[in-house]
Amino acid sequence: MSAVIQRLKAARPQLALLALALLVNVFVAPGFLDLRMQDGRLFGGLIDILNRGAPVMLLAVGMAPVIATRGIDLSVGVIMAIAGAVAAAGVNAGLAWPLAILAALATGLVCGLWNGLLVAVFRLQPIVATLILMVAGRGVAQLITEGRILTFTEPHLIAVAGGTLAALPLPVVLALLAAGLTGLLVRATALGLFVEAVGTNPRSSRLAGVHTGLVLGAVYVWSGLMAALAGLIATADIKGADANNAGLWLELDAILAVVIGGTSLYGGRFSIGRSVLGALVLQAMRTAILRAGLPPELNLVLMALVVAAVLTQQSPAFQPLAARLMARLKNKEARV
């Protein structure tokens, strides 16, 4: 029980941000918080945010361990497109839907393996290593779809985005399950410790016997798998594989979600739960802007401001400044 409280305490900044973003939603759209049950499924503003945010939640869940190793995965948006194309091409070619989904997930694994190989074995800088797939991957996806939007009518594949489980949209269930599984995987085993150790001091970790190559490889493979799952959802959502636009720029949202979740781009400590909260903050902001009837372009500007604020707050140069400011404020209060 105390562990849960401790975790909630650690997530205070993210929870506060999320509350703020939701508050704006309530303000621009009265009735935002209303939940209603219809045909065995919950509807409402909160559910929308969870549902729309599911792909970025999944990406963030995969991205958090990568960033914790002082790495980055720029290819996740492209992996979404490739996985979606594989699934669509699969069902259209007459493959049974479970096999098509498995093939898509396997594609994500292979993409992750490729990234992991470049980073862990060939020692490429992660930003360059994953940039390779980011650039080449769209081409691969387009080759699979033959340059068209591959539409499909396979009901099971469409259900990945449109289905309902336990009164919740299936994407929400999938994202939460994946987050839970990842959290379990890193915290119930020693992987989390190894990831944080390698991200903080790879030399010491190697000397202490940590298999640094394996740890580095594993985080990229997992990130690829999560991206493939996100790609399935995005593809099922529009009932077609769009090689040009699926997952476009979402790698940046994922990185942003992880950073808002308090993981430093310099590696080290990370939290799956807080990264998920980060993804939800982004989605809540986006929804608020849309509901307010503001031009969606404003979204980008606002997101940039949030990033600037969050990163400044984390910067080592800012912290002593903030501490001094706080101290001065407290002094004033005391005098008053």
Binding site: L191, L193, F194, N201, R203, S204, S205, A208, G209
Partner: protein
Amino acid sequence: MASPETPVTPPPVVLAARGLTRQYPGVRALDGVDLTLRAGEIHALLGENGAGKSTLINLLTGAQPRNGGTITVDGVEIDPDGPGGAVRAGIAAVYQEITLLPNLSVAQNLYLGREPTRWGLVHRARMNRDGAALLRRFGLTIDASRPLSDFSTAVQQLIAIARAVDLSAKVLILDEPTASLDTAEVQTLFTLLRTLRDQGLAIVFVTHFLDQVYALTDRITVLRNGRLVGERLTAELPRLELVAMMLGKAPTAESHLGRRPATAAPSGTPLVRAQGLGRRRLVGAFDAELHAGAVLGAAGLLGSGRTETALLLFGVETADQGELIVDGKTVTLRSPRDAIRLGFGFCPEDRKLDGIVAGLSIRENIVLALQAKRGWWRRLPPARQRELADHYIKLLDIRTPDAEKPIQLLSGGNQQKALLARWLATDPRLLILDEPTRGIDVGAHAEIVRLLEDLRDRGMALYVISSEIEEVAAYSDRVLVMRDRAPAGLLEGDTITPAAIVNAIAADHQTKGAA
């Protein structure tokens, strides 16, 4: 200001630093050090790791602020605030890693920040012409318009010196300039330095090659643990005495540390035996036998290859010659993981860079090696982790309120104990320690030595590399002496005395001098 031991009129003093002090949180890196540089002299600045050489240079060049002391150049007190201020005062430094820009041309490097201009634009032709002319004065005839990266390290070094001298021609500081040069290149460099000296420049020469000190320098200043040990004329300081100054041990004095009752040198089958183990460009073939319940000490100066022996024994580097026999079987170590699987542990020399994982807690640092040995799947339950951490915090007396504090908050001695705990938790058969007592205050120092003796008595094999000669002599059953990246002798039993170790470290030079 003239030092009392020079009978003839010494050359004029160019730079006088008095009482320089630099305080870091918890450590005094430099403690009231004096340095006197004279025109037309090459001055060796010597000391082991952590002696304060780099800090002293950084204070002189203004790269770091000082907490006390004065610097005068030509009798005028200066306050170098940043490298620019030092250059204006006539002090320039050339570092071991060349700090020029390899993608620019030689001339662009020479005139970076002060390019000759015409109509407000860089006058490239003149810059190349001037650059070539400048380099000719330094004995280099090269095309200054070519990129710097076209030239060898040695030439780049000369270019760096040319730039430094051209910028400010009073004091030139060279930090390990010969570390990556071959013999012929060293000779070229020395010829240049002698010419510059004869032109009246004051040169500071930092190195760990004693041969070069005697071949080149006129005067020597020795630092140790941030303090000044002494300033001597090179011609009047025998090598043996110099080594003793650097290691802080008078070669004739009796050891005041009690040696444990002479036991027979360990015999029987050793746990680990290295036969002619070596790696090209790292360390020459050496032999070592490590027995359970015995300590093999390793002594030698910085750069002698002492650390490299440990890197081979722990699989950090893979040997390309000789063999390593563990439990009677020949093994090849390709990574530290291989060594750990055999029951080895290793506390490296640089605790910050290679030892602690700063940012993680003391508990996580302590369990890291054991957890890595168990593999990622078999996680140590949190309760067991806490139990282990608390056990070792108590056993080794690590001073911390609790095990969850970030490890970087501990003092040096307590960090070292935590690293020891990391390995003790894996229950190793062989523990390799590189400078386990460096940069640790006196109290913790004695505790760590006691700990090592205790581990030895409980049957662990220890390999301890240390520049604390007295300690090595006190607890070692055998001592491997390294010099110039190769073994220089093995002392056993009663022959292990501090004086004998210092002798072995300096011996080669003496025989050479006698010949």
